[in-house]
């Protein structure tokens, strides 16, 4: 029973992380129908900048709010810098071209950003774990947990709620819904579709960078952390259905719990859990748990 609690706690903490890193990918795809292969690199940039800000401006005893503020700031900086640049300069030119060209384009950008990160921060691990170690810990199920991962559970829940609210209850969300449903009609209604695209891509970039920034205190940062994140986030959102925020949330929880259970009960399977679940889901529901099949008009 106690073990089950521990498995659950670890699973939830991991699920929160999964949701934070995959929300941006699914959001961008939802609006633009472009899978951003540079997502992992934006994550890495957010993580590095977050760590840098923490190292420079946060004392070891900093308040929770101040620390989170710094990390959020890092994410916003990266998103505002990279998002419009990528979308306006590059992506915009290939919307009319085939899907695989769009994939290749973001792949090219991912290669470039990988080296940009390396040129700025070098190859030695960057460590900024103050919030992880300094926010104190709590004893649950007989063992010690730092608060930070549970803080992330809170942040993930908050983010999920926020995104849900924005999408369903605000004018912005309705404009987004219109653009997703029909680009052309949206334009004839007076919606500045290119601006919505820039906005959505930037929002996705901020979310990606936020995932990274919030992760920074838990990991040490080295080149290449982005690539894994891309594959994992894709698996999560493929399970949930590409473009669905709710799907990403459910996918995160499923994968998080399964992976945690695997570590405890079948450690040899750890590596494969996420792909196993993805394969199973796609076998029976090719469009993911919350995806929809589109029928082409003929």
């Amino acid at each position: 029973m106690r073990l089950l609690l521990v498995v659950l706690l670890d699973g939830l903490a991991y699920a929160a992380w999964l949701f934070l890193v995959s929300a941006g990918l699914t959001f961008t795809y939802g609006v633009l129908r472009v899978l951003n292969l540079a997502h992992g690199n934006l994550y890495a940039l957010g993580a590095y900048l977050g760590a840098t800000l923490l190292l420079h401006y946060a004392a070891s005893g900093s308040e929770v709010a101040a620390t989170l503020g710094l990390l959020l700031l890092a994410a916003v900086i990266i998103g505002i810098l990279a998002g419009p640049l990528i979308e306006r300069v590059f992506l915009r030119r290939v919307y009319s071209r085939d899907e695989e060209v769009q994939l290749l384009l973001t792949f090219a950008i991912s290669l470039i950003l990988e080296d940009v990160t390396k040129l700025i921060w070098g190859v030695t691990p960057v460590v900024a774990d103050m919030p992880y170690t300094s926010f104190g810990s709590v004893r649950l199920g007989g063992i010690s947990y730092p608060w930070y991962p549970f803080l992330l559970v809170g942040v993930a829940l908050g983010l999920a709620g926020f995104l849900w609210f924005v999408v369903t209850h605000t004018r912005l969300g309705k404009v987004l819904a219109a653009v997703i449903a029909d680009r052309e009609v949206s334009a004839t209604l007076g919606i500045h579709v290119p601006r919505v695209y820039t906005f959505a891509f930037t929002a996705g970039a901020i979310l990606a960078a936020l995932g990274g920034a919030l992760t920074a205190p838990m990991f040490s940062l080295v080149p290449g952390i982005g690539a894994d994140v891309l594959v994992i986030s894709f698996a999560v959102i493929a399970i949930g259905g590409l473009g669905s925020i709710g799907g990403a949330a459910v996918g995160s929880v499923v994968v998080g719990l399964a992976r945690s259970a695997a570590v405890y009960f079948f450690p040899e399977l750890d590596l494969f859990t996420i792909y196993l679940i993805m394969t199973l889901v796609l076998l029976f529901r090719p469009q993911g748990l919350f995806g929809e099949i589109e029928i082409r008009r003929i």
């Binding site: 004018r171 309705k174 404009v175 449903a181 334009a187 004839t188 007076g190 500045h192």
Partner: protein
Amino acid sequence: MHEVLRLERVRVAIQGAEVLRGISFAIPSTGLAALVGRNGAGKTTTLRSVMGLLPLRDGQISLNGEKLGDLPPHRRAALGIGYVPEDRRLIGQLSVADNLLLPAWAQGRTDVKKRLAHVYGIMPEVRALATRKAAQLSGGQQKMVALARALMSATKLLLLDEPFEGLSPGLGEKLAEVICDVQRTGVAVLVAESDTKRVSFVERIYTIERGEITEQIDHR
């Protein structure tokens, strides 16, 4: 009499094939005109070009004497052009009210309530549908809502693509009345239609064939 809409030698190609081959015509102020031609003659292409959804290969489109050039569609909407596509294309998951309000939000209009009241005034039956999801409506209802939505932006020009298709005769008559009402409020209207008889109420009919205007008939 000044012209709300004027097309001059407009050429448009889709996927390399020329669909409009130098179309010229005009709608006078508060005019009510129809573009009549068979499927594939270029009616829809003409309306889409006016809306800015297709780039011109050659020629000019002007609104109240101002050349529209390559102004993107959302700017044209802001200039007061409303467009009802043939297949309605409402945003299914939003309510009817939200569908109507979208143009106002997008254009940042301040007179939302007034405009909405105006539209409900012309089409009171749409008010009753306000809270329903667009996807739940019948085809005819969707058609009316799409018209109402276009009216939210159409302060100068309303473009209707085959509005009578799929409407029951009764609803068709009702629609013709609404179109006349709209015209009376000072908005020029251009209707694309395949059958001359259905647009007997308009002032002027242009016949379009294979991307060219072949005939102009003035009713009044």
